[in-house]
Every structure is written in C-alpha cells, then in structure tokens.
C-alpha cells in the first residue's frame, strides 16, 4: 500500500539547493569562535589594575553574574538577587539571594561570598552577608545602588588565591592564557539554564584587519570591527551590529588651568577642533561629534552643548594671550585611530595658531582618552567619567535632569576636558550565529546565542 506519494513534495516550490531552515527556535551545540583586539591580562571583573573595556565587560558577563541586571530599557531586574529593598532613606540596601545557585566549582552561593566579592570590588563599601542575603550600608543616600551593583566590575566572583576565580555565569573557564586565548565551556547546571552553545573560544590581541580576514575565511564567527572601518563592512561577509554611542573620546588636561590665559587657550583649542569633518572623514561617519560628556541617548540633553568648530573665535581667544606655550598631546600608540585623531587635532590647533605636539610616550600636557561609558544611567556614567578625568564630582546626585545638566555643565566649565566624539562599538558575525546582541553598555550578550545553519 502506497498511501502518499512523496514526489508531490518535490515539485514546484522546490528550490532544493537552498533548504530553508527554521530560525525562531534555538539549537543546542557548537563552539563559538570569538576574536578581539584587547589583551586582558586578568579575568577578574574587579581588578582595578586593568582598564575597563568593552571586551572585558563581554568576558565578565560570560563567566560571572551580578546581583541585579539592567535591561535595555534601563529597568533593574533580578540577577543573583531575587529581590531587594531599601531602608534608612536609601542608605541601607538588602539584597535577598536566589536559592540553589552554585559557583562553577560547586560551592553554593552565600551572602558571605557575595559580601567578600563586593568588598573586593569596592573597598570603601560597608557590606555584610549572611546565609541568604547581603546588606550594603552607606553614609549618604544611594537611590541608584541597584544600578551600581549591576555594573560588570561588581560581578560576583569567588576568589581562591590569586588566580583561581569561579563564577556563576553561563560558561566556565576551561583554559586561560592571559592576553592570548580563553576557552570556555557551557555550565550544564547554570541557574539561568544551560546555554545553547557548547563552548566559546576567544582569541585576543588580533588586529581589526586580521579579525576581518578571519571572519571572511571562516576562521572566526564573531569579530570586533573598528568604528572607522564599519562603513566598509560588506553584508555579504555577515551581520554587522552596532551599539548606541557608548564610548567617549575626550581630550583631558593633566592639570587644572593655571591662569586666565591658560583658560583662554584651552577654550581656543576646543573651538578649533573640526569635529564634523573629522567625524565624516576619519571616522567614516561613525559616531557623533560631542560637545558634552554624555551622549543625548543617555542624558536627553546632550545636543545643548555645541560641538561646532569656530576658528575665528578660536583665533580671537588665542590672540588675547601674548605667548602660547607648546603643548604635548599624548595618546595610546597601539591605537591607530587615536594616532590619526591627534594628528588631525594638532593640525586644527595650528590653524588657530596653537602648538600641539602629539606623542605616544611620556607625561604630556594633555591626553586623548577613549572612555567606555559605565552604563546608561546618566548619573553613574557621569560619575565614572569624572573619576577617570579627575573632574569634580556632582554634589546633588540622583535628582532631576536639570541637576544632572548643571553637574555636567560645571564639569565642562573647569576647562579640564574637551569632549570630542561619542562612538558606538561594532561587532560582526557570520550568519550562522543567531540571537547575539549588544547590551547598552557595549558588551556582547551571548548567553542566549546559538549556532545554526548559515543563510
């Protein structure tokens, strides 16, 4: 008996060569190959000797968890803490821990371990833990503390000795060659559920060009793309994704202005920088020219700070000063973008009759910094920028948008910094990598990613 003739399925609609695949339901299995430019020397999320970077944030989120997570709409959600509550006018916060969570080494998550982890990351905090909760006390009101504990540096790590780290995240460390290679394996009993990927192999210290080649020839699944090269990325090579502008490029003076003349010269320098043309030519249209420290998507008012160059006014200010001393402008010599930026800024300065000498070595009068913004919370982001540039800290924190604006305006009025650009981060992946996203802090979200068939 031949009930059903299957030739029927092999007819008109058949485009057999391109077997279509379902997309919506994730598949388990496979090892993701990720490459990055950074060369992190530690995986410890709270090691302050290593500068913050988007790559570091991505690695942290694969291995560790935070008590609280902040979603893309800026809302706080439970992480390792199931609930939390404030007391004493937001000076005391108690976080109740999720039950049944274990570190990768099998140790149950306890308040004591969490407290030790948070104290390590924040030596100034008063933290105490018991079996199933942790309490943080502070002298000042801290209404945004849940957002702060969601920062990657506050990820909960169990530290045994100097190098032995254990997390509760979706992947456990199999092999770690600092600054070179990291091999991760899926944590089968992860409290969030076993990740779809079996493992992740991370190669570090790869140039952007090498990474692009690796993606093209199928030796990498997910790569970083330099902002200035994102424009040239061909969709045929894979999917390109970018974040919101989460990186601040800024000129930072080593000292406060020493005299009214110095103040005039700094203003002249700020007005001489042709951010618009630099953004279109050197950055190939990526990012935004910045007049303020925070981008508009974080503050809501960033456009108020002008980023327009005004060469005529710059010259007027310069001419009010009899003698302008030569400034040295430092930058990271391993960063090709930083080098071309400082060269162009020096040329702009020259047009305003200012003398800037770029150098990649030694102490300098001012420096070009690339600062990853801490998070989408405007107060925490501003506080973080202030800490990295020695700007004065805001007094009336956590209040209205107007107070935030005043705090940022006051920081800019010190003439200690000249904001230049806000840049997004870019990643590209093969079409076989599904459900990968970028968080609004510029880090990769791979805990739900999976490898399927390439399209």
């Amino acid at each position: 008996m031949k009930r059903f003739v299957f030739h029927c399925l092999a007819v008109s609609s058949l485009t057999l060569a391109t077997l279509a695949h379902a997309e919506t339901r994730p598949e388990y299995g496979g090892t993701l190959r990720l490459t990055m430019h950074a060369v992190p020397s530690t995986l410890d999320p709270a090691d302050s000797r290593v500068p913050d970077s988007f790559a570091r944030r991505s690695l942290t989120s694969l291995i560790f968890d935070t008590l609280v997570v902040v979603d893309d709409a800026g809302r706080t959600k439970p992480g390792l803490a199931e609930s939390w509550q404030a007391a004493k006018g937001n000076q005391r916060w108690q976080f109740r821990l999720r039950h049944g969570v274990r570190f990768h080494d099998g140790t149950p998550l306890t308040g004591e371990i969490v407290a030790a982890s948070l104290r390590f990351a924040n030596p100034g905090w008063s933290v105490r833990g018991d079996a199933d909760s942790v309490t943080i006390d502070s002298e000042a009101s801290q209404p945004e503390l849940p957002v702060e504990v969601a920062l990657p540096r506050n990820a909960i790590a169990k530290r045994d000795g100097q190098e032995k780290l254990s997390g509760t995240g979706p992947f456990r460390i199999l092999d770690w060659q600092p600054g070179k290679k990291l091999t991760l394996a899926a944590e089968e009993d992860c409290w969030r559920g076993r990740p779809f990927l079996d493992g992740i192999e991370v190669e570090m210290g790869r140039s952007f060009h090498d990474q692009a080649t690796a993606l093209e020839v199928g030796r990498a699944d997910l790569i970083e793309v330099a902002p200035e090269q994102s424009h040239h990325f061909s969709p045929a090579k894979g999917r390109l994704a970018s974040s919101q502008p989460v990186e601040l490029i800024v000129l930072v003076f080593a000292r406060d202005s020493s005299s009214p003349d110095d103040k005039l010269l700094r203003s002249a320098l700020g007005l001489s920088v042709e951010r618009g043309s630099i953004q279109s030519v050197l950055l190939q249209g990526a990012g935004q020219a910045a007049g303020g420290l925070l981008p508009t998507w974080i503050s809501g008012y960033g456009f108020v700070f002008s980023s327009q160059a005004d060469l005529q006014k710059a010259r007027q200010l310069r001419d009010q000063v009899q003698t302008a001393r030569l400034w040295t402008l430092g930058y990271d010599g391993s960063d090709p973008l930083a080098r071309v930026l400082v060269e162009r800024i020096a040329l702009n300065a020259k047009d305003a009759r200012l003398s800037l000498v770029p150098t990649a070595v030694g102490l300098t009068d001012l420096r070009l910094l690339r600062i990853p913004l801490a998070c989408a919370d405007p107060w925490i982001a501003l506080e973080n920028v202030a800490a990295q540039t020695d700007l004065p800290r805001a007094q009336n924190k956590w209040s209205s948008a107007e107070e935030l604006f005043s705090a940022e305006k006051a920081a800019l009025a010190t003439d200690r910094v000249i904001p230049l650009f806000h840049l997004p981060v870019f990643y590209a992946a093969t079409s076989s990598l599904k459900n990968w996203t970028l968080r609004n802090n510029g880090s990769l979200e791979l805990s739900n990613a999976w490898l399927g068939a390439a399209k």
């Binding site: 379902a22 997309e23 339901r25 076993r194 008012y301």
Partner: protein
C-alpha cells in the same frame, strides 16, 4: 522617575495588557472591539502636567513679556503627540502671561526640543535673550509604549486575540470553561501556574501554585498546559510533570520529576470533529521531551506506521486524510519533515520551528499554523492547507511584536495559543489564534 525596589513575584509586576476572551464562535466581535479600544486607551498620554511644569520654568527665565516659541521633536514621540505637546505648551505659556510672537518680532526666543533618554522624555528649553548665553531649563517625563496591527486580504482570516501579558516567561495558557462558558485562564509560567477569573471587567488572581523542579530549566524552556476530558489540568515541563487537583480554586499541585511523554494531539481532536471519518484516523500521539533541551527526542508513542522515532523535533502538526494522517515535524536541524507512516521526506518549506494544527469549519477543514523563518525581529504566523501536495497559504501573516516562543493547539482543537516575547518591552504576550471564514 526611578523604581527603587524590585520584588519578583508580586502581582503588581504583572502588566496585564488586555482581556479578550472566549472562543471566536461565541464571542461577539463588538465585545472584543470594546476591550481592544479600552486597552489602547491605556496608552493615551496626558502631557498637561509636564507642559505646565516646563512653561513655568520658561516664564521664570523670560518674565512676563513677549517671546517667540519654536518646538522641535527629536524624540520617538509621534507627530500627533508632538503636536499635542506643542499646542499644550503654547497654551500654558500664554495662560501664564507670556505673549508669543513670530521670531522676527521677538527679542527673546525660546527653542523647545522634545528629546529623550532611555527611561524618560526630556523636554529642553533653550532661552536666548539678547546677546547673553542661552539659559537652559528642562523637564523629564517617564516614557510609555504603544502597539499596532495590520492585515492583508486572503481567503481565511487569521485573527490574533490578546489574552494575557506579563514580564515573566509564559510557556502556555489554558482557557478554562465553566458550564460551557469560558471565564478563567490558567497561565503556565516558568516557576508557577496562576489562575485568573474575569470579574467586574478585569482579571483577578485566584491562585498561584509554585512548580517545584529539582534542576534549573533549560534555556528556551518550554511547557504545555493540557486540559483533560474531565477538565483537569496537567502541566508538562522539561523533566517534570505537574498535576492540578481541581480546576477551580482552591486547588493543589503535585509535581514530580519524570519523563512522561507530552501529548501531541489534543484530546478534542481525537473525539468529535467536523469530519468523523477523518478524525477517526487520528491516534492519541505522544512524544518524549528532552529534559535538558528544548526539543522532543523524536521517540513517539504509538509509532506512526513504521516510524517509532523521527529526528528530534520542536513541534509537530498533522493533516488527516481519508486513509492516513500526514504528519509534519519542525525538526531541530531546521528542516520540516513529512511522514505518512510509510515514507519520510524532508521538505524545502521556509517555515519556522513552531507548527500547530487547527480544525475549523473553513476551507478544507484542517489548517496548519506555522511561524516563519524570516526576520527574527518580528515573527509572524500564517495558516496553510494541503489540498493536494504542497502547502497553500490561506491566511495573511499575523505579526507578533517579537519571536514566537510557543505555538500550541488548544484542547478543543479549533484554536491555538501563541506566545511571543515583545522585543521592545521584553514582556511575554499570549494570544489566541482563531480562523474565520469567507473573508
């Protein structure tokens, strides 16, 4: 502006969107329309307090005189809302005594920019008076969201009826009847089963029963809530089966670890149907679900003809024929496989991984609903028939606000439940999918 406390599991966290309820045949469309309009009205914003607040700040700078006003919208506010804010602001400023002139007539100019950040709209007024540096004042307004629907013309209309939405994952929903009238719903979440009764125009929580499970759920965890012929409820979850002792509150739940197979054919389809000859051919098929993954292992009971196993699959659907049943499996490798019990073949269909059968009075009487395999940002479901060999599309695509995470045939067999995760809000939204004829 900010939420300082989060307590998971508190009912306030549930964001009940709307309530359109009942099987399509029994529910008047007018009632649905009223509910949908009511839910849409929830999104209508009242900007007046913020307009007043900003106007007050502007007047504090300009004083009572004359000024020009320009409003620029660089936020996600639509034109309608932007116009409302602009008009409201003008009225508020004039009521406070500021005389608004054209820009060439005024020495003071006020430029209001409707901007936004992640959590709020930020309205910024830059006030330029003579040659002084502009003064800046601003207000922030918490943001809300909205929704929309679209249709195209096809022989059968696939309708999406909102049932329930919540922040936490929804695995399945069962609409419960009392004396033949649907009046309650049971929501299977990741950690509990909650029942709600529709009373006084709104859903009210009856009972929440926690699900005990010894191991963490797998990612993309799945579950199915099945009503038995006796109206009892059984929840099938990865490696766990829970039985609810009574359908009306108070009831209790018993969960136990085990690999009980999940039903693939709803009981309603194996009994009465529009075509008794066809329904008689449908066996009560069950499949074993992998306890640490998101798919069925492929082991079936009873066997389909000579096939007691098929490649591991996510979902299955079927079309009864006169002498056999055509089965289709959305396999874990992405292909859709067909079998009639004798032969098996992989097709080239561009379907997603969720399929479900519904039996209706429309068209051929049996339709297969399938998700698409296209844009992962916005999923959709269409209805198909198999008049001869290839599937024929019989409905327009119904779009969802994010990926469809579950698609299950309901117990009666004539409708299906679709769960989608909203890409914008992150919440889970459950819909009943019903087909209506003769469009």
């Amino acid at each position: 502006m900010r939420k300082a406390i989060y307590n998971s599991g508190i009912p306030e966290n549930f964001k009940s969107v709307t309530c359109a309820f009942c099987r399509a045949a029994r529910l008047s469309f007018a009632f649905l329309l009223v509910l949908l309009i009511a839910s849409t009205a929830l999104f209508a914003a009242d900007w007046s307090a913020s307009e007043q607040q900003l106007a007050k700040k502007i007047v504090a700078v300009t004083g009572l005189g004359a000024a020009s006003l320009t409003v620029e919208n660089r936020s996600s506010l639509g034109r309608r809302d932007s116009d409302i804010v602009q008009n409201g602001l003008r009225s508020a400023l004039e009521q406070m005594g500021l005389h608004l002139l054209k820009s060439e007539q005024a020495t003071t100019s006020v430029t209001v920019t409707l901007s936004e950040n992640e959590t709020s709209y930020v309205w910024v007024a830059q006030i330029q008076q003579a040659a002084a540096d502009p003064a800046v004042v601003m207000v922030s307004v918490p943001r809300t969201g909205g929704s929309g629907v679209a249709y195209e013309s096809m022989p059968i209309m696939l309708r999406k009826i909102p049932l329930w939405a919540q922040e936490g994952r929804i695995l399945d929903i069962a609409v419960l009847e009392e004396s033949g009238t649907p009046s309650r719903i049971a929501v299977l979440g990741g950690e509990d089963i909650s029942t709600y009764r529709f009373q006084n125009g709104r859903w009210q929580t009856e009972q929440t029963l926690a699900i005990n499970h010894p191991k963490p759920w797998p990612l993309d965890s799945r579950g199915r809530l099945v009503q038995g012929p006796d109206r009892t409820l059984t929840a099938f979850l990865p490696g766990v089966v829970c039985r609810i002792t009574a359908t009306s509150a108070p009831s209790s739940i018993t969960c136990q670890a085990g690999d009980d197979p999940w039903p693939i054919v709803p009981f309603g389809m194996t009994s009465a149907g529009s075509d008794p000859a066809a329904t008689a051919a449908i066996p009560m098929l069950v499949g074993f679900f992998a306890p640490t993954r998101n798919y069925f292992t492929g082991v079936l009971s009873p066997a389909i003809g000579k096939f007691s196993t098929v490649p591991k699959f996510y979902t299955a659907a079927f079309i009864p024929r006169e002498k056999y049943t055509l089965w289709m499996f959305a396999s874990a490798d992405g292909a859709v496989r067909f079998t009639d019990g004798i032969n098996e073949q992989t097709s080239s269909l561009t379907w997603g991984s969720d399929v479900a059968t519904v039996r209706t009075t429309c068209g051929a009487g049996w339709q297969v609903l399938a998700t698409n395999a296209g844009d992962p940002m916005q999923d959709s479901v269409r209805a198909y028939e198999f008049p001869d060999r290839d599937p024929v599309t019989v409905s327009a695509a119904v779009d969802f606000p994010g990926p469809v995470t579950a698609l299950w045939t309901e117990s009666h067999g004539d409708t299906a439940i679709a769960i989608a995760r909203n890409r914008d809000t992150g919440s889970y939204e459950a819909f009943r999918l019903s087909l209506s004829c003769g469009q």
